[in-house]
């Protein structure tokens, strides 16, 4: 069995899964030390299991957390990092740390260097690696007591050899340093990749402490299973990998909730609507994975190249205010938010909310139904139509194919949605919809991708894609996947403009089921 945990800002949810079946689910308040909430949730979860039955054999514990994202957003508990770029004479116009908010740069950047090195897009070196400069920097960092280093080489996602050589040289002087190499974040776009590398280096100290305390929390309850952390693409990494790549946990929350909704509904290609108190998040699931956004993503004001799900948020939730005016009815985007249980009419408050409409229309049965008896049939009908229109328009916009897909609704506010929506296909309302996020954490797979700018240069397209696919599969297995389960799920090629000859930017992604036994401690 697997345990999935979602450490959110308000609640820590935990679920116990036997295969794909949810056998236990709990919600506990998140605590300031994070660990306390995890222990409480796990304790309550295990108490739910029938005491007469044999204790469950836990194979893996998966945690989804916003802890590292919050550290960046709050610019707290980051380790000052030395940023070394292998690129000179190129890139000196914009040194590391360019376009960062000042307070975050102060917290996370100790020093910044651009030294000789890097590659062209066709693999030729820009310059040989300046090993003398590296040794000088290493000595300075040793004297200053700096142990966090980010190394970024131009086009290193095509050829990572210089970054690895740089690490070796730095280790001669700084054997215990936390060194992050940018080709781990394999994508073109130097500043975005470098920013991810620097944030990662500055988070590794915090990651080691946090993950150790998660491990202690788990083992204190007698659970001997290995621990994994959720990544932002619906896959997990081992706790040890997470101490090296904490930034990969950024934005794992919405992904987990979409993947959990998929499992609970049994669908792999569908639309997901997650409705909370204030907003509805709408996304598309393709082959069981959330579709990714194309645009650059800001974390705490820093532009990064992280994979993020393409989610559309609309201002519709259980707490959305409902107004009847001359021009018709409006629902949201203003909301009473977390005060719904005091302000909503059915809860004895004075504000007409979307939840009140749901109760009046018999879509939901909570609170005092008498409090909404004054609403006319026409008013209820008009408000319901507006709610359905808002959700329907968001679904239509996020749909990824011309065919109608089923729509899975989860989250506390999902009662707003009726049995049918215009253009939305079948509406599916799975059990345990409140814990979809923790379920998503529990079922995560492992994945890996390769991104290259390749020149076809006489080779066939097929040959080039085959080679990249083999590499993606190899990386996926290295990340912990069971070899037989790994498959290539996405091949994306974009021709590179303005370059003579068949040059394309190629991206290949492979995923597979987690090989639990190889990670057993």
């Amino acid at each position: 069995m697997r345990i999935g945990i979602d450490v959110g800002g308000t609640n820590t949810d935990a679920v116990l899964l036997d295969g794909d079946v949810v056998v236990g689910a709990v919600k506990q308040p998140t605590t300031a030390d994070v660990t306390g909430g995890v222990v409480n949730a796990l304790t309550t979860l295990l108490e739910q299991v029938d005491p007469g039955a044999a204790p469950p054999v836990i194979e893996a514990v998966m945690i989804g957390t916003t802890h590292f994202t919050n550290a960046v957003v709050e610019a707290r508990r980051l380790t000052p990092t030395s940023c070394i770029r292998l690129a000179a004479p190129a890139t000196t116009a914009l040194p590391p740390g360019t376009d960062w908010p000042g307070h975050l740069r102060e917290a996370a950047v100790f020093s910044s260097h651009v030294i000789g090195g890097g590659h062209e897009c066709d693999g030729r070196p820009i310059a040989v690696l300046d090993t003398a400069a590296l040794r000088t920097i290493a000595t300075e960092l040793a004297d200053a007591g700096v142990g966090a280093i980010a190394v970024t080489g131009v086009h290193s996602y095509i050829d990572g050899s210089q970054e690895r050589q740089a690490e070796e040289i730095l280790r001669e002087v700084l054997p215990d340093a936390d060194i992050t190499l940018s080709h781990m974040f394999g994508r073109s776009g130097l500043l975005e990749r470098e920013n991810a590398t620097v944030l990662n280096a500055s988070l590794r100290h915090l990651a080691r402490h946090t993950i150790r305390s998660f491990e202690e929390a788990v083992s204190s309850l007698g659970i001997a299973a290995p621990l994994f952390l959720s990544q932002n693409d619906g896959t997990v990494m081992s706790a040890r990998a997470a101490t090296e790549l904490p930034v990969a946990t950024f934005a794992s929350g919405p992904v987990n909730s979409m993947r959990g909704a998929a499992l609970l509904s049994g669908l792999k290609d569908c639309m997901i609507v997650d409705i909370g108190g204030t907003t509805a998040d709408v996304g598309a699931l393709q082959r069981g994975f959330p579709r990714e956004a194309a645009v650059a993503v800001d974390i705490g004001g820093v532009r990064t190249n992280f994979r993020m799900p393409d989610v559309l948020s609309v201002g519709l939730g259980g707490g959305s205010r409902v107004h009847f005016g001359d021009a018709g009815v409006t629902v949201g985007p203003d909301s009473v938010g977390f005060r719904l249980l005091e302000d909503g009419l059915v809860f004895g408050g004075r504000t007409l909310t979307a939840s009140d409409i749901a109760v009046a229309a018999n879509r939901a049965a909570f609170g005092d139904r008498d409090a909404v008896r004054h609403l006319t049939e026409e008013q209820i009908e008009a408000a319901l139509n507006e709610i359905d229109r808002l959700v329907g328009a968001a679904i239509e916009r996020m749909r990824t194919s011309p065919t109608e897909l089923p729509t899975v609704v989860v989250g506390g506010g999902s009662v707003l949605v009726g049995a049918a929506l215009p253009g939305a296909g079948d509406i599916v309302r799975p059990p345990h919809y409140g814990c979809a996020n923790a379920v998503g954490a529990a079922i995560a797979q492992v994945g890996a991708d390769i991104e290259r700018v390749v020149s076809l240069d006489g080779r066939s397209r097929h040959e080039v894609i085959e080679q990249a696919s083999a590499e993606a599969i190899e990386r996926c297995v290295a990340a912990g996947a069971r070899p037989a389960s790994v498959e290539v799920v996405d091949v994306d090629e974009v021709p590179v403009a303005y370059v003579a000859g068949g040059t394309v930017r190629l991206r290949v992604r492979a995923i597979g089921d987690l090989e639990v036994t190889t990670h057993a401690s």
């Binding site: 890139t91 000196t92 131009v154």
Partner: protein, 363 residues
Amino acid sequence: MLHEFTRPDVADLASGAALLGTGGGGSPYVGRLMAQAAIDRHGPVPVVQVDELDDDSFVVFASMIGAPTVLGEKIPAGTELARAMEVYEAHVGREITHVLPSEVGGLNSTVPLVAAATRGVPIVDGDGMGRAFPEIQMVTPTIHGIPATPMALADEKGNAVVLETIDNHWTERLGRNAVVQMGSVGFAINFAMTAEQVRRAIIPGTLTMATELGRLVHESRHAGLPVVEQVAAALGGSVVFTGKVVDIERRTTAGFSRGTARLDGTDDHAGEVLQLEFQNEFLVALRDGRPIVTVPDLIIVVDEDLGEAITAEDVRYGYRTAVIAAPCHDQWLTPGGLALAGPAAFGYDWERVPVPRPAGTAR
């Protein structure tokens, strides 16, 4: 009219230039950061109007030539254009007095500011396209018989070449090959002009126009005004289609990303189909099979809600877009202009369809 470029002006220029890129021209992000860094270091860049130029001025285009995606990875040293200017001046034996952008669309709108700030020369308010085009010769000075060469081309390593070619098409051919060897990004000084030639051959006022356009986008969004309509009106154009991308096909031919996108109409255009042909930039828009906008007029595809430009490289299934058609500058409507950048210049058989030109405006 702008009198100087400061840091915030550059941000507005980059937003406006993304729209005028008509789907191509590259992301202005790196160009914006470079121009801002140069201004931080050397101070604001003075802006000169074409009619303020002294008669003995010696004006050149300063631009990046190459693959915008590579520029996002191999960021420049920032000294390339200063180097190209030195080599150029040594070759022709004259000092450059002003720089000009070759195109106001995409990243080349901000690149000349780096040269101007570094060398302490003013920038002329205008450009050679009034939009973005993919090739060196596709600029208004070519229409006027102004040669692209001598052209100095420099890379970040300090390499520089000077080209002398028999016509501007050869400049593109030989220059493109040199740029590939430089690592797919090179910086060029070309199209030297006198003040008289600038006044005759250049599209005036476009830096101010692009900067105001960028400001309009931010202010409209802030004020909750309909951004798309505001942008269309500011360009003297109109929204010709609203719809959702339902199909996208890409192919690489002769070093360019070509393709076709199909949009299903929504709102006023429900039931209609729009087909967009692109080759780096959006070049032809066909409604229900009939061309309604063609090069050299501007086809601008924007996010329906935000009014932000969507590049041809980024167009994906499901995008809700508005398509704006705006008139190009009159110089492109001359026989020479149409031969250089009309539908036939891009290998299309469709006849040019002129978009309505607002009365009393001359862009």
